[in-house]
């Protein structure tokens, strides 16, 4: 079945016991593109920004604005993780539009890895801000009966982060592939344009939910 092979990652080679799939190689390519772009653009920073520096500053300010709305106390502390997630997911989703590359996020392992990073960083920042006791206490507030529900929601939010990103990007790719099988070359183009929109929205949603979860652990009354 051709369509099936299109969506399962291929094992390219092995490093010791580890399988290196096409997803990982695509991720490396996208990481290299982001890194080179940011290093080149960040080389000559000026107080009065030129064209590309303006674009970079806009990205940083947009992410900072999202965090500042939710956590007004010290938003800069969370800028690195949320910004990294948003920029990487945007680039990874859009990478699927480059011929020969596939979105790494359409392999379930990539979203799962990022959701696990979010899971641990929520606890890290919670302990960092409120101490171990203070962080654990919000599971039994206002009443201890809520403890199982809180624990279940910890699991459910990780799973839902994973599946939302994975399902959206994979669904988009399947629709494009099916349209391409039916009527190649011109009919998939509107769908590909729409997938640019979906890619950016999904990255925004992932970052936003990360901020919401972190703010739930960090803020005193939440």
């Amino acid at each position: 079945m051709e369509l099936e092979q299109e969506f399962t990652p291929v094992v390219l080679f092995h490093i010791g016991p580890l399988q290196v799939t096409s997803t990982i190689v695509d991720t490396w390519i996208i990481m290299a593109i982001i890194s080179v772009a940011v290093i080149v653009l960040g080389k000559r920073l000026r107080v009065k920004p030129a064209r590309w520096q303006n674009a970079l500053e806009w990205v940083v300010e947009a992410v900072d604005g999202v965090i500042r709305d939710m956590i007004p106390e010290n938003p800069r502390l969370f800028l690195p993780i949320v910004g990294t997630l948003m920029v990487f997911i945007t680039a990874a989703n859009l990478g699927g539009l480059i011929p020969g590359l596939k979105s790494p996020t359409s392999d379930i392992n990539t979203p799962l890895a990022m959701a696990i990073v979010v899971f641990f960083s929520v606890h890290y920042y919670g302990i960092h801000e409120k101490g171990v006791i203070g962080h654990l206490k919000h599971y039994v507030e206002p009443i201890f009966i809520l403890l199982p529900i809180e624990l279940a929601s910890e699991l459910a939010r990780t799973l839902s982060l994973t599946f939302r990103l994975f399902g959206n990007i994979l669904g988009e790719e399947i629709v494009i592939a099916v349209l391409f099988l039916v009527l190649p070359y011109f009919v998939p183009v509107p769908m590909m344009l729409f997938s640019i929109f979906t890619s950016v929205i999904q990255a925004y949603v992932f970052g936003m939910l990360t901020v919401v979860y972190i703010s739930g652990a960090v803020r005193a009354h939440a």
Binding site: F163, G167, L170, G171, M208
Partner: protein, 92 residues
């Protein structure tokens, strides 16, 4: 359909269920999204200055509702492409 081999029957039933399932599974979150979007429009129309806060809550709620449809999609993709029970029927 009685004289069809079990493998053909399996594939036919899987495809029928997948098609029906995705339709049923998308309608319900779509109705939910409709309600959310309509209330957000009303809220923005009443208080345009609150549109930033409304937008944020709107996108969050839409993402939450959307994940319901995505769960259905994941289940159906598993049914179609990676059904763990397939080996008992198709013997592969």
């Amino acid at each position: 359909m009685g004289d069809l081999p079990a493998s053909d029957l399996f594939i036919i039933i899987t495809v029928l269920l997948s098609g029906g399932g995705i339709v049923a599974g998308v309608i319900v979150p779509a109705i939910g999204q409709m309600v959310v979007a309509r209330s957000a429009m009303n809220a923005i129309a009443r208080q345009p200055e609150a549109s930033d806060a409304v937008n944020r809550a709107l996108i969050l709620s839409l993402a939450m509702l959307e994940s319901l449809a995505i769960y259905i999609l994941a289940v159906i993709l598993i049914l179609l492409f990676a059904n763990p029970l397939r080996q008992f029927i198709l013997g592969g």
